[in-house]
Amino acid sequence: MSQPLAVPVALQRGRPLAWWGMLLVLATEGALFGTMIASYFYLRFRTPEWPPRGTPEPRVLEPALLTLLLVATSLPMALAVWGARRQLAARARAGLVATAVLASAYLAGIAWLLLDEWDKSPATKEAYDSLFFTLQGAHAAHVLVGGLVNFYLLASIARRPLTQYRVNGIWAMGLYWHFVNALAVLVLLTTMSPAL
């Protein structure tokens, strides 16, 4: 008699493999952002004027408010994961919709801010500008990817049942989302540091 190749859902214990897989992905993402933040401070410690002369100081209020908005999306995302794990499809959908809408607002705001900063001092001008846009751009790209996956998950449970496979997807995505929000605070503090 042949052996089953996969562990049946009913026999699964603990967190799903998707969650652990996401944790490994996030470890590499953490290393990536850690390297970028370390590069920022490495250059800062060696530069008597930071930002360099002729480069405006970074904005504080608008990015801080946008980051606050993004961090607030951890709540609806937690609701989505909570609902999905308890087979409450309506709650899972509501959480994902709220997360996607707020994340879209954040992305629109950050895109406007970055374009405005680029007009004043483009990434090609100084190492400072290069790191500023790399950090902010890489983070915004992570939010964009997360937002797109959120829309995909939303579409996948809009009219179809909340299978264990989809629950695992939402669970893993919840971990990614909280991580990206924590990163947003680190990126904000790093890029805002010259103005503090």
Binding site: F45, T47, E49
Partner: protein, 120 residues
């Protein structure tokens, strides 16, 4: 002791000492750089004092990990475990690694504290 607590001690004993040593190296490097580099020297960061704080915090984490590893090892010797031998393997591995990493953390800390600052 609850099962959850025993599990925490097993993993804390395994992970804390190497993580503490890695933190000591990375944060210590950053503090040293901030204290000694051309751009940030004027901030007046006391290198030895800051390094002492880093060594104290990371050393405490490493020693806490060693104590957790010892507790897990004693629990295993007292009969705690599972049929697959996972707890025993983790306890023995974490105790060996914790001893090594506590020693590394202390030796790194001593070097950093006794050598003259900003000479690199």
């Amino acid at each position: 002791m609850t099962e959850r607590r025993r599990e925490f001690l097993l993993w804390f004993g395994l992970a804390a000492p190497p993580v503490a040593w890695a933190l000591e190296l990375v944060v210590g490097y950053g503090v040293d750089d901030a204290a000694c580099a051309r751009g940030s020297m004027r901030w007046g960061i006391d290198d030895h004092l800051s390094q002492a704080a880093v060594v104290a915090v990371t050393g405490s984490i490493a020693v806490a990990g060693l104590l957790a590893a010892v507790a897990s090892f004693r629990a295993v010797r007292g009969g705690y475990g599972d049929p697959r031998g996972r707890a025993e393997f983790l306890a023995v591995t974490s105790l060996s690694a914790a001893l090594l990493f506590v020693l590394l953390t202390v030796m790194t800390g001593l070097g950093v504290l006794f050598l003259e600052e900003c000479r690199g």
